[in-house]
């Protein structure tokens, strides 16, 4: 390979890498399913009362989303457009059932904790949205990265929510290993007498999510107005020059 060719190859590799990173950042942060698109909130609100259940739910969604995105992307050229939705549903439902069976076998305590919400991943609109919007139109690797990114965003969101709910609601933070059911850590942050137990309930989930959304919106507005002012200042400076 000549010098020019290797440089070209290197530049192409860097471009591809940047493209994959962009897919990940877009699906995990810029288009975060919870805080930006407000999708799949039912399971987020229901299973974020403790850090342990939140991590379990986040990982289950991650496995399902990556598998369904990959399968749908691999089959995208042979799935007839007229029946694509029933086919997606069969793929998603089968994947969720497989994950459910595996979790019942290897993490039975977590299955009880997540309850019906584990099976309800089938109707989680994030999964169907990524299948229809991304996986059905893109290559398998890109779809896998998109699935990982979207699920990573979901995992971060549910962890943030559960941290706030568990700490404010109980005054402590506990994490239980879903495989062995052994306590990994249990920290007392403040005296339980000062905890607001409402935050662990469903009402608390709505309150915390609402406050988080308000804070994120305020922050993004602040950043965009700061960018706008900088741009205006640059234009004004250019005009003077």
């Amino acid at each position: 390979m000549g010098g020019g060719q290797s440089l070209h190859f290197f530049a192409g590799g860097r471009f591809l890498m940047k493209q994959k990173i962009n897919i990940f950042i877009s699906s995990a942060f810029s288009n975060n399913s919870t805080f930006v698109l407000l999708l799949g909130l039912c399971s987020i609100l229901a299973t974020s009362s403790t850090l342990s259940s939140a991590v379990g739910m986040g990982l289950a969604v991650m496995i399902v989303l990556m598998m369904t995105n990959l399968i749908i992307s691999l089959l995208r050229k042979i799935i007839p457009a007229e029946i694509r939705i029933p086919v997606y549903i069969i793929i998603i439902a089968s994947t969720v059932t497989i994950v459910d069976m595996l979790m019942k076998a290897f993490t039975p305590e977590l299955t009880i904790t997540l309850g019906v919400y584990l099976q309800l991943i089938v109707v989680n609109c994030i999964i169907m949205a990524r299948a229809e919007v991304f996986a059905s139109k893109n290559k398998p690797l890109d779809s896998l990265i998109d699935g990982f990114g979207t699920a990573f965003g979901y995992l971060i969101s549910i962890i943030v929510l559960s941290l706030l709910r568990e700490i404010i609601g109980t005054g402590s933070l506990t994490f239980v290993n879903p495989f062995t059911n052994a306590t990994v850590f249990s920290w007392t942050i403040f005296d339980a007498r000062y905890a607001i137990s409402l935050m662990v309930s469903n009402t608390g989930a709505f309150l915390i999510l609402g406050l988080l959304l308000a804070a994120i919106n305020a922050l993004s507005m602040l950043i965009s107005s700061h960018k706008k002012r900088r741009k205006e200042a640059l234009i004004a400076k250019g005009g003077q020059g």
């Binding site: 229901a46 299973t47 009362s49 259940s53 799935i79 007839p80 007229e82 029946i83 029933p86 086919v87 069969i90 793929i91 439902a93 089968s94 059932t97 497989i98 069976m101 595996l102 019942k104 076998a105 290897f106 039975p108 299955t111 009880i112 904790t113 997540l114 309850g115 019906v116 919400y117 584990l118 099976q119 309930s201 469903n202």
Partner: protein, 202 residues
């Protein structure tokens, strides 16, 4: 090929492949799930009746292995079988644990509420959740704390049993009718059977 033939054929093929994948995963996971449930049941017998190593030597499990199948009137309420422990010294009844399975909020027969309820010294010795897929923040809350509510209640006082359960629901603002619908009668059926065994023995 005609579209009306091709599309259903494609859908059927996808369903068939998905079914095969599910069947193979089920083939590998079912023995593990069954084993884990059996282990949870065995641990439950000892935990509910508070049988530690020191007590274990002085007790007989009747029958020595396995469980006693529940009679028709008990199985109609959801009690599958039970295990009795007798004192070796005088063959008197030490305690009894009933295994039950009832449908809860999730009416899917593959996801019942599987539970154990124990009795000792004429009172409820406790309730153990073996498996269920109730809504965690709703019916699940009811099941999680049920053990604390019924432990110590006299097994021959129906009024006290229902009063305690109603008070528990009121205190926690719970209206979990679908979760409790079949479970509570099953618990009471087990209590009645236990009392009849005690009466027969005396």
């Amino acid at each position: 090929m005609n579209k009306f033939v091709k599309l259903p054929l494609f859908l059927a093929t996808v369903a068939l492949i998905a079914g095969a994948a599910l069947a193979s995963v089920n083939y590998f996971t079912l023995p593990i799930i069954t084993l884990r449930e059996q282990m949870a049941l065995d641990a439950g017998y000892l935990e509910l009746l508070e049988i530690d190593e020191s007590k274990y030597a002085s007790l007989n499990r009747v029958p020595e292995s396995g469980t006693i199948a529940a009679a028709a009137e008990l199985s109609a309420k959801g009690i599958i079988d039970y295990v009795m422990y007798e004192n070796k010294s005088d063959d008197s009844l030490f305690g009894i644990v009933y295994n039950g399975s009832v449908s809860g909020h999730n009416k899917n027969p593959s996801n019942p509420i599987v539970f154990q309820v124990g009795f000792r010294d004429g009172v409820f010795a406790g309730y153990n959740n073996v498996s269920n897929q109730e809504t965690p923040t709703y019916g699940g809350v009811y099941l999680n704390d049920l053990d604390d509510v019924i432990t110590g209640l006299p097994a021959d006082d129906e009024a006290a049993f229902y009063t305690a359960l109603n008070q528990y629901k009121t205190d926690n603002s719970l209206s979990v009718t679908n979760t409790e619908r079949n479970l509570v009668p099953a618990l009471w059926a087990a209590a009645s059977h236990y009392i009849s065994l005690l009466e027969d023995a005396s």
